[in-house]
Amino acid sequence: MDKKRGAGVAARSLAIMLLLVAIGLVALAVLNLQGLRLLFGSLALLLVGIAAAILLQPNFRAIYRVASATFFEARRRRFMNVILIFAVILVGLSSFFATLSPSAELNMLLDIGLGSIRLCGMLIAVFLGARLIADEVDKKTVDVILAKPVRRAEFVIGKFLGAWITVTCFLLVMGVAFFIVYQIKAPQLVAKMQAVGMALSLEETSANVLKATLLILFEMMVLTSIAITVSTFASWIFSAVFAFTTYFAGQLSSYFHHIATFNDKSVAIINPSIKMFSWVIYRLLPHFEFFDIREKLLTHDPVYWEMIGMTAGHGVLYSLVLVALACVFFSYREF
């Protein structure tokens, strides 16, 4: 008994030490010492994560059970199947548009195919994310679960993972459907484009399609986490509307950055308060445009794994921060 308590105290002191170091690292990152912001920031994130794990000692089995129950439950929601069928039809349709030039046709195939995947993924992510917790609260099923040895944070994380796994499965189905369509349609277009001297290869464009689909996965992770976080303190309708709004505003985030850092007085003078406001918005908004590699799809340039990795990592970390916030909100909620 005493030994156990001693270990608990030791773990707690370790966690607090880690947090103090993390605070220092964040300070270094803010000061951008030696231009190593990225290193300091990432290390700090890692330490905060470890400290949180030590302090909270999450029960992974409970998280897993909640997540898998969520997944199996979500699969049965009827609207999901409707969206999936709709998506597969759309993806199939993307190959039926014929235009003047093969390059425009390839472009259209990519845009409409990936656009359909993204649209349907978005609908699923938002509605699932917004409704999962809200439904449990409405139906009072949450009462029984929270009376079991499941902490609220574990419940939220489980729900989030379950939702994301569901979204992922749907995206994979849609992605495979599109990839098949692409492999049927693209080779002839690419051949025609190569014939007029355009530099592109089928392998590279196909790889880009896969990478784009992969990034959509992480984009939807961020979107799910937004919907879930808002739904822990607001109605599911509000949280769905909020998530959609954030999605579209997030596409504009670089404009806010642009305004915040614009300094060419010869072109336009921007009110400092507007600049300040834009800066705050830029920092707060999720950068949904990060997950968009359409420029590279159009130019058929290779997309580097480094970029994909950093973007995906950013998406995961952003989602985790949001989900942590959701856990806090949910822990203070009454039923």
Partner: protein, 314 residues
Amino acid sequence: MGEIGIAIRTEGLTKVYRIGIRGTHVGIGDLTVEVPEGEIYGLVGPNGAGKTTTLKLLLGLLFPTSGSGEVLGLPLGSPDYKARIGYVPDGPYFYDHLNAPELLRFYGALFGLTGKVLEQRIAELLELVGMADRAHFRVHEYSKGMRQRVAVAQALLNDPDLIFLDEPTAGLDPMGAIQMRNIVLDLRQRGKTVFLCSHLLKDMEPMCDRVAIVSRGALKLTGPIDEVLQAGAGYRVRATGVSPETRRKIEAVVTGIVEPDADGVAVLKAADQKRALEVANTAAGDGAQVLEVGPDRRTLEEVFIDVVEGQAGD
């Protein structure tokens, strides 16, 4: 450690609901109770008295506005006692798409139960609550009573030391109510503590070791059931068709007479058992029909009505 432990202890436990921006409503106020281990504790009160509120406070679903409490020696809401308790909510809801074994498997897994142990436990519990033959139904195909039975089964999955029941007999048929009662009594037999909320006083009275009466968010009365019900140590005779002649005969023996009610049942009270039997004999000899001779316990209903109406007055 030899003495009897306390399963639940609350001190000045208060929950004030916020209504709108300014409004407040006292769900339960200043509740100080102790529930000894191994007893059946009944929390009774009219609708809206604060029974469910109290239960949710004890389970950590609500947070107290003030006051504090302990469950199994741990502060309210601590995840650590939840592995040792069971909870049957009022009007329970479950994942609609699952059937009873699937549902129980899910909840069991949350307790860390797996494999054969869990399967066996599920089979036992379904048998216990009389659902074994209807196990394959999905929850949305269940009747209210069937849900209630499943709710009891899920609460017993972890063989809890302390079980909270909110209106456990609501929606159950008479057989179900009896089975329910047997389950509760069996739990006590095995040394478990049961915390029961209900306004079905007739069901509560024979089961509870200890009751607390709450009304409008306030604790009115609490104590062992015998203390609460047995106001005096007298005896009584319940009989119909008591003639005026009989009354005259027993005038010297009885300590009081309660006039016949709508069914014509009069209550004749006596100081001890011997006198009560005397009264009964006399009445029977005069042609009255004696229904019952026994200690003059007030029914929980009577006490309850007294307490609640007494409050209505102030």
